[in-house]
């Protein structure tokens, strides 16, 4: 029985059980996540009814080209992350099981109110998990802004329900397309609600406080997996359900563009490793939002995939560095990779892929973004995206040079002081980073598979026959 509901029900049931079976809650956690990450490979693409009532009367789960690959990536990486931090997660085993159920629910659900329930579950689980970093005041800020955001989302759904009388996403989408009234205020409320989790500019005050001090566990979890899932949800709602047009698209796109540019500028100015990545995450979210709003869903999907994988490695390694060295100030990390070359190479591949150097997966992401944008919109959006990419390359290369190079430029080898610290990072972290780095490299050499999948995924949201993509073999097809 390859029912996707089990991806939600089994972790949830094990979470409830782990309250009394305290002694074996870590084995229960591993068991649940192992089950999910195996089940994801057997799920078929279709709509699954829950409770026996056909939608729109009941709730359904949807598996299609858009979310299937994200379900696989998120579940597998979640398991990997927990296994890599097994000693640290013991007190959080129950919450992690619920978080896994919540993320799967967010990806799977086909119902707008059910989506709200899962936003609540996933975000409350995130609040609790973030208390691991002992920054209680900053988590409290996140709690306030996060709860306010989900209420705004709920208010938006209430208005849509009052106007259209349905909560099912597919049904709602059909009714909005055929309807005569544009529920602008509902769109804005839903946008504001999701923008907090997606980290768009006026709404992202919580990100800095929370991710600046994230550990090697909470960093990849919140900065990579949660961020990716929330972007997928944003795409599902704004790409697939709500039908935006005219001024609305322009004004929301401007928010995305400002987020992109401000994020890259702040990353350029950041002095600490994790600050760089959190600002870069904000920028990438802005980019994905621009692409979704412009209707370029297939490239938005590429951005999300690349962002999940690269940020996973970058937060993991940065968190470990901060834990081992005691800080993550870039200026004091000179030559840190010299005695841990394998890890350094994985880190370098990932960050070079982030800025879109040829040979890496990021190159195909960047070039397809530009092709799609140049073809679809006026020139100012792709021009600003290019500027953002330049800033990104500047700070990433500057950072890599610092982390590899001992001493100053032109200094003679004899006079250089050897770095005094040694980077003791476990084998597991190295292995994970290297494997994910290799994946970015391989999919950079053979990008066709991933790009074809993303075109299929984009087509789920909008059927568009004239998608042109850049691949290795065919060039512009």
């Amino acid at each position: 029985m390859s029912q996707p509901i089990l991806l939600i029900a089994i972790p949830l049931g094990l979470a409830f059980l782990s309250i009394i079976l305290k002694k074996i809650k870590v084995p229960l956690l591993v068991l649940g996540l192992l089950f999910s990450s195996m089940l994801v490979f057997f799920i078929e693409k279709k709509s699954y009814i829950i409770g026996g009532f056909k939608p729109p009367f009941g709730i359904n789960l949807v598996v299609d080209d858009y979310n299937l690959y994200f379900i696989i990536i998120v579940n597998v990486l979640f398991l990997v992350l927990v296994l890599a931090n097994l000693s640290a997660v013991k007190p959080m085993a129950t919450v992690l099981l619920v978080a896994s159920a919540g993320l799967n629910g967010l990806l799977l659900t086909g119902d707008l109110f059910n989506l709200f329930v899962f936003i609540e579950i996933a975000s409350i689980a995130a609040f609790i998990l973030l208390t691991m970093d002992k920054q209680f005041l900053k988590v409290f800020h996140y709690i306030i802004i996060g709860t306010l955001a989900s209420s705004l989302y709920l208010l938006g759904i209430v208005i849509l329900y009052a106007q259209y009388g349905t909560l099912n996403m597919a049904d709602m989408s059909g009714l909005i397309d055929g309807g005569s009234i544009t529920p602008t205020i509902a769109y804005l409320l839903i946008f504001a609600g999701l923008a907090v989790e997606v980290k768009l500019l006026p709404f992202n005050g919580w990100v800095k406080g929370v991710l600046e001090t994230a550990s090697a566990f909470t960093g990849p979890l919140i900065g990579s997996l949660y961020a990716g899932v929330m972007l997928v949800v944003f795409g599902r709602v704004f790409g697939g359900v709500l039908n935006l047009s005219g001024t609305m698209v322009t004004s929301l796109t401007i928010i995305g563009v400002i987020t992109l540019l401000a994020g890259e500028f702040m990353a350029f100015q950041s002095k600490h490793l994790r600050q760089v990545w959190l600002n870069s995450s904000i920028a990438q979210s802005g980019l994905a939002v621009i692409l979704f709003l412009q209707g370029l869903h297939h490239v938005a999907v590429l951005v999300i995939v690349a962002n999940i994988i690269s940020k996973f490695v970058l937060y993991l390694v940065s968190g470990k560095i901060a834990a081992v060295i005691g800080h993550d100030k870039i200026a004091d990390l000179k030559g840190i990779f010299m005695n841990k070359k394998a890890l350094g190479i994985a880190f370098t591949i990932t960050s070079l892929s982030l800025i879109g150097l040829p040979l890496f997966f990021g190159f195909f992401v960047k070039i397809n973004i530009l092709i799609a944008l140049f073809q679809s919109s006026n020139m100012w959006i792709p021009a600003l995206v290019l500027i953002a990419a330049l800033i990104e390359s500047a700070y990433v290369i500057r950072l890599l040079v610092t982390m590899w190079q001992v001493g100053e430029e032109g200094e003679k080898p004899e006079t250089i002081e050897k770095p005094t610290f040694s980077l003791k990072v476990g084998f597991v972290t190295c292995a994970i980073s290297i494997i994910l780095g290799l994946m970015l490299l391989v999919s950079g050499v053979y990008p066709d598979l991933v790009i074809n999948q993303s075109v299929k995924a984009g087509n789920v949201l909008s059927v568009n026959d004239e998608i042109q993509v850049f691949t290795m073999e065919g060039g512009l097809e």
């Binding site: 309250i19 329930v117 106007q163 009388g165 602008t184």
Partner: protein
Amino acid sequence: MKRIVSILLVVVLGYFVYTSLYVDGFDMAVSDNRQTSISDAYITKSVTSENESVTYMESTDLENGSANIVTAIVTDYRSFDTLGEVTVLFLASIGVSMVLAGFTKKYQFKMKTNRILKTGARLVVGLALVLGVYMFTHGHLSPGGGFPGGSIIGASILMMYLSEENFRARMASFKWMESLAGTVYVLIGIIGLFVATYFLENFLPTGTVGALVSAGIIPIVYILIGLKVGSEVSGIIDQFLTEEVAS
């Protein structure tokens, strides 16, 4: 100044929400209004079967046997949402117990209790407990259900904490109840998936509308929710009314 700006913002937002809901013809946004058709199907219980009307104590073997329409929607038509909301409360209770972990000594109020308060509280607590249990066992028949029933149980525990200086509820047994109720809820869902076809499907006979034993899994689910909510709310109250032991 800040306050005036925020009040103005709320007023503007309220105006927009009001106009988008109550302007003339807002329900004409679509030619066939789903709101009526879906609600009608819920009321006449005719989502999967054609059904003209439902008569109290007469109609039998409907797709959903609950006499209370709210319960029918909350625990049957959209039961999956309710499982999610139960999880939200579960997480809240875990969050409280993690942040306040290590608070073991009961908080002592400045005001001393007296015999009249204690005796009165004991009388009321018994009645309140019975009311709470009544409410979630009759959730499919009368107003109320698992969430208010469980909250009433929590309130009666709170009353005991306030009136008796040395009262501590046995938290271990509440934990058991919380955990088992949640697990059984999920299990019922999975049994539905394997015995019938769908997760959380109502696989028991629904009986006569209005009878105490009717509506299939709905009363079972509501009793589980009542027990779970009751033990979670009590657990949160216990955490809030304890303090750190001074060392």
